[in-house]
Amino acid sequence: MRQLFSLFLALLSAASLSSAASDYHEQLVLRPLPLSTLLASFNFRSNITLSSFEAHNFDLFPRSLAQILQHAGTRELHLRFSLGRWDAQSWGARPWDGAREGGTGVELWAWLEAETDEEADQKWRTLTNALSGLFCASLNFIDGTRTTRPVMSFQPEGDHPNATMENMHLLYGVLPHEVVCTENLTPFLKLLPCKGKAGVASLLDGHKLFDASWQSMAIDIRPVCPSGGECVLEIEQTIDMVLDIERSKRPRDNPIPRPVPDHELKCDSSKPYHSHGTCFPTDYSAGQDWSLSQIFGKSIKETCPLTDPSIPPVCLQVPESRSVYASQGSTEKKNPDRMSRCFEIEPETGFEMILPRIETEDPAKSAAVELVKPETPLLYAERSFTGHGQERGGVQTILRNPSLDTEVEFIYMESLPWFMRIYLHTIEARIEGHFGEQEPLIKEVYYRPAVDRARGTQLEVRMRVPPASTVFLTYDFEKSILRYTEYPPDANRGFDVAAAVITILNPEKNGTRFAVYNMRTTSLLCSLPTPDFSMPYNVIIFTSTAIALAFGGMFNILVRRFVAADEGPEMGSTIKEKLGRRIKKLIEKLVKGKTAEKTAAVETKG
């Protein structure tokens, strides 16, 4: 019986293998970046036909996610978990042209099918709550104040029939405060067919991933209709991380950096005072040797058997002149562009790769061998706060177009918390060092102001940056003071403000792609004025006393009659006399003791 069962199982898995072989593939692209860093891009993609999706036959598509999508009427979904800052100045253009990237924290946008806005909101709540449970993230905190409906910035990536397009609602939510960590990675890997146990995904380890200088995990689900074929629902999971090679090479059992002995010190030989006796230590050393197991803590033990064998699982983007040693059982395939190579791995074999140290002293030469020169991004953007104090401030975004001849047109989107009250009339875009008349830089503004405690600000600006110029986009805002229960426990840390989303539009108006490049600025930390959290009772008492004094004083004067000082009922006349008598009594008591008190009592009775 047992044998029969296992035979049945084997048959079943063989069947699924044959059908799924072309439906899933995974790939790791490694690209050394300047300053001794390494970009590792993991990409996992699987498909499922829409008909089998409808029939609940999910195949390699993660069932848990598929059911959520069906339940919430989601047609297209994009989820991002990101941490760190992409250093565009040294690392150049972003991987995937920024399309698989989110701002710090968690970002989620989805197209939901709904008849009305209310229904869309309802489904959105269902979706965020379900995803929150699935990914162990606080996505359920994406409420009305953190949800916007972008108008210009996003376009569906998938192919949607026109009939459903009309009823699709785009909702966008962002949680800048969310700290992405291991508990988000585990469910992410569980969605993969090999569950991170085999294939390139086995390299992913929370210790390394969240130690990266920059990392972004993305899930994109969209329907794709190939011409002439059946429409499929495609899930693409992407992890991009920038690792510091030197940091990653630190042994795991001894991770604390210690001073290196003199002879191992790496010196910056470009300094004029560099000699045998003096050394200016370099931040990083070019041309380092590294291997997969050093960087990721382990090598690939086995390929994932479900993956499409025609797509090489590991690719490395280094110049052809750099020597690379790969383990047995793999074949190196050089790309014709001489700037990258891929490794095909035989089934059921492991993979390890070693890049030896480049033995050249000249830094320029070593860089040419070590890495492919990064592409210049279309736009540099940095955003910061201006002003001081906790009352008001400004936001300034510096947008620089490095191109010498092409103008960049893009949509700048901010979704700000309601307690940052922005003054749209102060929005201004100016070119650095350029005064006088010029064509307006801002072409279109979509603005939906915040409503206190109900809705955040949504600002979308379509603007352009002329070639080789820097544009300052500024606006003022006012910080509002909240009710004391609305502050988080660490109120003085400040409030995270989500990254601005920049979508660079395709200059060809009828091009297939809507955006040619996406980027996010860093998130900001906005400090609000805080009340004294320790004294709600005191404030209630003090204010009530002030009001009681005014009320009492006023009505005391209004309701009582005037009489001359010596008129009216006796009643013990003025306060002064009363007080005097009391004090006299008290003194008498103290002096004469009990007997005196008795006599006093008798006196008053009499």
């Binding site: 104090g389 009001i547 004083g553 009582r560 009659r561």
Partner: protein, 425 residues
């Protein structure tokens, strides 16, 4: 004849002086208007000029200013300011408008002062009425009061309310109930709280009716005039509705004052109280605070029935302390009315304390606010304590004025008690 000519010349000189002072401040210190606009003592969420500009910007770009958390002012201010040449290019017109409004307030104040209503109303004549300040001095005190000047330079929209209230009182004193009702409706439309002034204003109008076409029946008089107020307010709301296209301005202007959803600090007592209030008691205390604010109207109107102008003055003082978003503009309106009672000043007991407290808070308030918000060396309690002292100082002034006025009334019955010690039972 000569005398009136001289007065006219003097008044014109006063106006010119006030206007020149303001214009000089506007033009010689170009940073000053924006600096003052940013001060929480001058600009509240419901009167701030910066918020007005934002509302205007949204209105001119076809975004409803009321579908947001910034603009909480009356809708009709929007077309008024859009008719003016753009503030960004020609600010001088805005400055001139604010100066004109201040001068209009001063002229109303002169009318009130010169009518002598403060000293001798229809039902009561003070024995001390001879000792009074002329309209010229009262207007000068108003126009050169630093609070008034700062409000004008800060371009707070509360100046419109101030002008409307003063005109309502001036018209009532002049025996023109209809105009008074129209003016008080405008004031109520702009900031809501002046509606509470309606009962004493009705009494004042009733007392000062011209004998030729006086309405004897109090009920008839009240109903007609309340009808006028309702009609004017209804017309204003209708106009606002047509202008903004929806009724959403109501929750955004008056709703904010009722529920205090914007907790920006100001010199009043509400903001910190409702920051620190427990959520479950918020609505209860909102009701209590509003009830407290309105409870003075009945008490004062009944007790000081014989002098409705006193009731109006005292109520303005109380509103300056206890309304949800008070600013120094409200204090300046109250302090403009106080000099009308020059004749009872000798009866006041705590003038020195009051003056000292007001000076103390005026100087320490901005300092403590700076310590909290900018220097970071103080916390919110610093500014809160100052607002508390300010509130106590002003309420002492209100109480003391009430006492003085009532003693003045009493001394008519007991002329022999002048200057004697008295007590209240």
């Amino acid at each position: 004849m000569d005398g009136s000519k001289v007065t006219l010349g003097r008044t014109a000189g006063l106006y010119a002086g006030a206007a020149v002072l303001r214009l000089a401040l506007f033009t010689l210190f170009p940073g000053l208007p924006d600096l003052l606009t940013g001060r929480v003592e001058i600009s509240t969420p419901v009167t701030s000029f910066k918020r007005l500009q934002e509302g205007l910007f949204l209105y001119n770009h076809n975004v409803s200013p009321y579908d947001g958390g910034v603009y909480h002012q009356a809708p009709l201010l929007l077309p008024l300011f859009s008719l003016l040449p753009s503030f960004a290019t020609l600010p001088i017109f805005t400055y001139l408008l604010y100066i004109a409004v201040d001068l209009a307030s001063a002229s109303a104040l002169i009318k009130i002062a010169d009518s002598g209503e403060a000293g001798s109303s229809a039902l009561f004549t003070s024995p001390r009425r001879q000792k009074r300040w002329s309209g010229f001095i009262v207007a000068a005190v108003f126009l050169f009061n630093p609070f008034t000047v700062a409000t004008c330079i800060g371009r707070s929209t509360s100046v419109f309310t101030t002008a409307a209230i003063l005109h309502a009182i001036a018209k009532a004193v002049a025996g023109a109930p209809f105009s008074a009702m129209v003016a008080i409706s405008f004031a109520s439309y702009l900031s809501m709280y002046p509606l509470l002034l309606l009962p004493p204003l009705l009494l004042l109008c009733y007392d000062r009716q011209p004998t030729s076409r006086a309405v004897k029946s109090g009920y008839q008089f009240a109903t007609t005039n309340i009808g006028v107020v309702i009609a004017v307010l209804g017309a204003l709301f209708q106009m606002s509705y047509f202008m903004t296209g929806s009724w959403e301005f109501l929750p955004s202007t008056y709703g904010v004052q009722l529920t205090l959803s914007d907790l920006t600090p100001n010199i009043g007592l509400w903001w910190y109280f409702f920051i620190e209030m427990f959520d479950s008691f918020r609505s209860f205390f909102l009701a209590v605070f509003w009830l407290h604010l309105s409870c003075y109207v009945g008490g004062l109107s009944i007790r000081i029935r014989r002098q409705p102008l006193v009731v109006l003055t005292l109520l303005l003082g109380l509103f300056a302390i206890f309304k949800p978003y008070p600013s120094i503009s409200d204090a300046s309106l109250f302090l403009a009315m106080v000099p009308l009672y020059r004749h009872v000043f000798p009866l006041m007991r705590y003038t020195f304390v009051i003056a000292a407290v007001i000076m103390y808070t005026t100087f320490l308030g901005p300092a403590f606010y700076h310590l909290w918000i900018y220097a970071g060396s103080g916390n919110a309690n610093f500014f809160y304590a100052i607002t508390l002292v300010w509130g106590l100082g002003l309420s002492l002034l209100v109480c003391d004025l009430t006492f003085a006025v009532l003693r003045d009334e009493w001394e008519v019955e007991r002329p022999e008690m002048v200057g004697k010690d008295i007590r209240q039972i």
